[in-house]
């Protein structure tokens, strides 16, 4: 038995999930967290599919929910590790086949800049869509992008120089 909207939902999910989970993985560095946040966001979307599918941008909605879910998990993880006396923020290793230098530079960006740059280039959203997914104006998204690119360029230049001057 297929519910009304079921086929439409399943097509949408199949089209969007990989781009979203990749983005969350680069933002948070944690494959498990990214996967859980994506599954959670899409199941919430299906829970209220009548309403979500009628929105101007269901994809924008699901990005927003997934990002919030990712942040919520990160907050909880930080609290838990503090309570358990663990070191916070374990540095997630770069996945195989990924430029490790760039991975680290992205991980070192301030959270908002990291989100903006990943949504723009990994998720391939337009600046307007990036703003909508983060709940900020297009102008704010665009300013954060400029700043993030500048910071990345500096970080990557610095590590290039280090490499060049290494014996």
């Amino acid at each position: 038995l297929v519910e009304p909207g079921g086929i439409e939902f399943s097509r949408w999910y199949t089209d969007e999930r990989d781009r979203l989970v990749r983005s969350l993985l680069v933002i948070g560095g944690d494959p498990e967290g990214a996967r859980d946040a994506v599954a959670e966001a899409f199941s919430r979307a299906y829970e209220r599919w009548g309403r979500v599918s009628a929105m101007a941008s269901p994809t924008g909605w699901v990005y927003r929910v997934a990002l919030n879910e990712l942040r919520r998990r990160e907050r909880r993880r930080r609290i838990e590790s503090r309570l358990l006396g663990r070191r916070s923020s374990p540095q997630h290793a770069a996945p195989p086949d990924v430029d490790p230098e760039l991975w680290l530079a992205v991980a070192a960006l301030p959270a908002r800049e990291r989100e903006v740059i990943v949504l723009r280039y990994v998720a391939d959203l337009r600046e307007r869509e990036v703003g909508a997914a983060l709940g900020i104006s297009e102008g704010a998204a665009s300013a954060a992008l400029v700043s993030a690119r500048r910071r990345l360029a500096r970080a990557l230049d610095a590590s290039d120089e280090k490499e060049a001057s290494a014996p």
């Binding site: 999910y13 199949t14 989970v21 101007a56 927003r64 942040r71 990994v122």
Partner: protein
């Protein structure tokens, strides 16, 4: 395209996506969430509206002794083979269906009208109807945003008093708690700051903690009042909520998440130039 932009795009392509559940599994989880939400009584924090930041509680939809709407009508009758028809006017068909079906009655509504707002019903609310008989629902134009010039919004205060907003065209109001949607008619404000010993914040936290199974109020929405072009959700300490704050073309705005203990205290409406035209609660 600078080399950094190219490298970032390559980075995205090189990241192998972690294995995700199938669409069927996600839909199953969504259905389970929906079923849970229909069954549960809820506590809700919402904001905005005529009284300002609101702490609200929904009535219990599940036990049959308290109607989902606070109209005072009972959903039970003396004859075990009949049920009093619930008042579902103002709800969407999607929201009304489980309420009607849970009573053992059937729903008759135009196909594809799930999101439509119910403007009339037959039989009238409160009429005894034999189990299995249909309640016929008449649905408004789908394009009309809910509760803009819509029906009266009713709710219940945290202290039990009934709340009514006659002119719901100004401030429609809906909220979601964790995984649970709350229809506009089910929620009730209003703890006016200063008017109640419980501050909005304390009330919000209290309602959240009544239902440990729920996470937090994750979606709140309302409509912009006339003249307003934008809205700002602010904390008393000056922080503003930017995460997920969206104003839709229907003039509905919504924000998520609003976590317990992280509820903005003030709603500020601004005109196109950014000037403040109203705030709730008003400055004392």
């Amino acid at each position: 395209m600078t080399s950094i932009e190219q490298r970032l795009q390559d980075l995205g392509g090189a990241v192998a996506p972690p294995p995700l559940p199938t669409a069927g599994a996600v839909m199953r989880r969504g259905r389970q969430r929906r079923a849970r939400r229909r069954g549960a009584g809820l506590a809700v924090l919402a904001l905005a509206g005529t009284g300002g930041v609101l702490a609200v509680r929904a009535v219990n939809a599940d036990d049959g002794t308290r109607p989902i709407r606070t109209s005072g009508r009972s959903t039970t009758t003396d004859d075990p083979a009949t049920r009093a028809v619930p008042d579902v006017r103002g709800m969407t068909v999607q929201e009304a269906r489980p309420l009607i079906e849970r009573l053992g009655l059937a729903v008759s509504a135009p196909s594809g009208s799930d999101l439509g707002e119910i403007v009339a019903q037959d039989p009238a609310p409160g009429t005894p109807l034999h189990v299995g008989r249909p309640v016929t629902l008449q649905v408004a134009d789908l394009d009309r945003p809910r509760n803009v010039d819509g029906p009266v919004i009713r709710g219940q205060l945290l202290d039990g008093r009934t709340w009514t907003v006659g002119d719901s065209s100004r401030h429609g109001l809906c909220a979601t708690l964790g995984s649970t949607d709350v229809g506009c008619d089910d929620i009730g404000p209003v703890i006016a700051p200063g008017a109640d010993p419980a501050t909005p914040r304390a009330a919000a936290d209290a309602t959240g903690s009544n239902y440990p199974g729920e996470e937090a109020c994750s979606l709140v929405y309302a409509f912009l009042p006339p003249g307003a072009e934008n809205v700002e959700l602010a904390h008393d300490d000056g922080r503003t909520v930017t995460d997920g704050l969206v104003v839709e073309p229907t003039r509905r705005f919504w924000a998520m998440p609003v976590q317990p203990g992280d509820n903005p205290e003030t709603v500020i409406y601004r005109d196109a130039t950014g000037a403040e035209i109203a705030r709730f609660p008003e400055r004392g």
